[in-house]
């Protein structure tokens, strides 16, 4: 509709990226929690976990990356909620700008912030002995899945960001998402789990995403998991986007 979409989005993204870089605690907590979990599982619990692989950190890293994104998007909801609460969201919307830029700036900021955390976590993983035999294409494929996954969860985070009535409510929705990898193949193979739990673990999105990333890192052929993972990501993205846009339109009705 307006010709300023890209310029306005760039200006507003620059603004919210400053929020990220100026509150170092958010960067640290988004990367530190998954790193601490990785340390705990590799050096404390890992010895007792039999995954049928040589290196537990190599087995574990894909799941840790999922947890990194799941905890990172809580800040996306938080930043959006604060913009609404402070009235600056209204200020932007009463200005002659491309209105959709306001949400997209938050989405792009979320992507950038989460990708930075992912890189940090991968680097720590490498220090801890994570090894991948993936080629450039494999790494690109992993990057692609993670970007898609982050985008899907980011739009999911937009919903509480727009509708929450308190700061706590805005970020609390991330807890179940952080918990989901525990009931998946992220930490232990699903074969050891009792029937119903195993059924749940094998049919929830995290398992297929983690398996696909694990296979790509290992350089082994990726089976149906890749397509199931992509389908989950796209489905979550589409549904979350539609619900988020409906919530957005209700704000301005």
């Amino acid at each position: 509709m307006t010709t300023h979409f890209f310029g306005d989005t760039a200006v507003l993204t620059g603004r919210s990226l400053r929020h990220v870089t100026r509150s170092l605690d958010t960067i640290i907590t988004t990367a530190i929690t998954p790193i601490a979990m990785m340390l705990l599982f590799v050096y404390v619990l890992g010895g007792a976990i039999n995954t049928g692989t040589d290196s537990y950190v190599t087995y574990l890293l894909p799941g840790i990356l999922i947890i990194t994104v799941a905890s990172g998007i809580a800040y996306t909801a938080y930043r959006l909620f604060l913009d609404l609460a402070s009235g600056i969201f209204d200020r932007f919307h009463s200005m002659p700008i491309a209105r959709s830029s306001v949400l997209w700036a938050h989405v792009i900021t979320s992507l950038v912030a989460n990708l930075i955390s992912i890189v940090v976590v991968v680097l720590v993983g490498l220090l801890m002995g994570f090894r991948s035999s993936a080629g450039v294409l494999g790494w690109l494929a992993v990057g692609g899945i993670l970007v898609l996954f982050t985008l899907a969860l980011t739009w999911l985070a937009v919903i509480p960001g727009l509708t929450a009535t308190s700061v706590d409510g805005a970020s609390a929705f991330a807890y179940p998402l952080i918990f989901l990898p525990f009931i998946s193949s992220a930490f232990v193979p699903t074969q050891t789990m009792p029937g119903p739990v195993r059924w749940f673990a094998e049919n929830q999105p995290v398992t297929s995403i983690v398996n696909a990333i694990r296979d790509l890192f290992a350089g082994t052929p990726v089976g149906a998991d890749l397509w199931i993972a992509l389908a989950w990501c796209v489905a979550i993205l589409v549904v979350a986007y539609l619900v988020a846009m409906a919530a957005y339109r209700r704000k301005l009705a």
């Binding site: 307006t2 300023h4 310029g7 306005d8 200006v11 507003l12 603004r15 400053r18 929020h19 100026r22 509150s23 402070s86 009235g87 600056i88 209204d90 200020r91 932007f92 919307h93 009463s94 200005m95 002659p96 700008i97 301005l252 009705a253």
Partner: protein, 256 residues
């Protein structure tokens, strides 16, 4: 249509209605604001003042009625309305994490103006914020925030400015600073619609005052006209006591 055939009013509101669920907030609001004047919308908390402002600023859609700002219809020509206005919301809508100067540059960029840096520096000086320019806004006092907020609203010289309860929560000194800024705006030809719950604020600033009560405008006129609604003034002898505000300002050492 209105009493001023020369220039069309800057704001026209006709039969505006708005409900939130079953709660009818506005039940048919009508008023006009003349170009270059200060118009005060007075009402108690929850009277619907903010709802009126939000509809005029294209942030909410009315259920019925029409509203025009600077000659544009708020529902059908929202983009033109946004080009003509600035909104200063109920709470200083400034970015706490950015510095004062960055806030101004941000707004200048979003209004697609050239030389955002120069615009920011000019406004910082005009509002006495030059020394605080590079500090994070979270370190500002309430009055400084409000001044920055109003300065942000002036960028691009919009002909119509909405100030929603501009002095709520400010100390007396900051209040006087804001009043001064509003007077200067109107002197420069900007139309100002302000909402307030402080009667003296309307009395001090406004050319016209409308009282919004129970979803309707119950009175609309100049201060003199409103005063005529009550029995004529009687002459009484009252000992002139300084008000607490006089005392406070004298002690703090800041005269108007």
């Amino acid at each position: 249509m209105t009493s001023t055939p020369v220039a069309a009013p800057a704001i026209t509101v006709r039969g505006l209605e708005k409900s939130y669920g079953k709660v009818e907030v506005l039940k048919g609001v009508d008023f006009d604001v003349a170009r270059g004047s200060i118009f005060a919308l007075l009402g108690s908390n929850g009277a619907g003042k903010t709802t009126v402002v939000k509809i005029l600023a294209t942030l909410l859609k009315s259920d019925a009625g029409s509203a025009g700002v600077n000659g544009f219809d708020v529902a059908r020509q929202a983009a033109d309305v946004r080009q003509s206005i600035s909104l200063t919301g109920q709470f200083a809508a400034v970015d706490e994490i950015l510095t004062g100067r960055e806030n101004l540059v941000l707004v200048a960029r979003l209004r697609h103006l050239r030389n955002p840096g120069t615009i920011a520096d000019d406004l910082l000086e005009r509002f006495g914020l030059t020394e605080a320019a590079t500090r994070k806004v979270s370190t500002y006092s309430g009055g400084m925030r409000r001044r920055l907020d109003i300065a942000m609203s002036l960028i691009g010289n919009p002909p119509v400015i909405f100030l929603d309860e501009p002095t709520t929560g400010l100390d007396p000194q900051a209040r006087l600073e804001v009043w001064q800024a509003v007077r200067e705006l109107a002197a420069a030809g900007t139309t100002v619609l302000l909402t307030t719950q402080y009667l003296d604020e309307a009395e001090q600033l406004a050319n016209r005052i409308a009282i919004l009560h129970d979803g309707r405008i119950i009175v609309d006129g100049t201060l003199a006209e409103l005063k005529q609604l009550l029995p004529p003034a009687k002459v009484e002898y009252v000992e002139k006591q300084p008000t607490l505000e006089d005392v406070f300002l004298a002690l703090v050492g800041q005269d108007t």
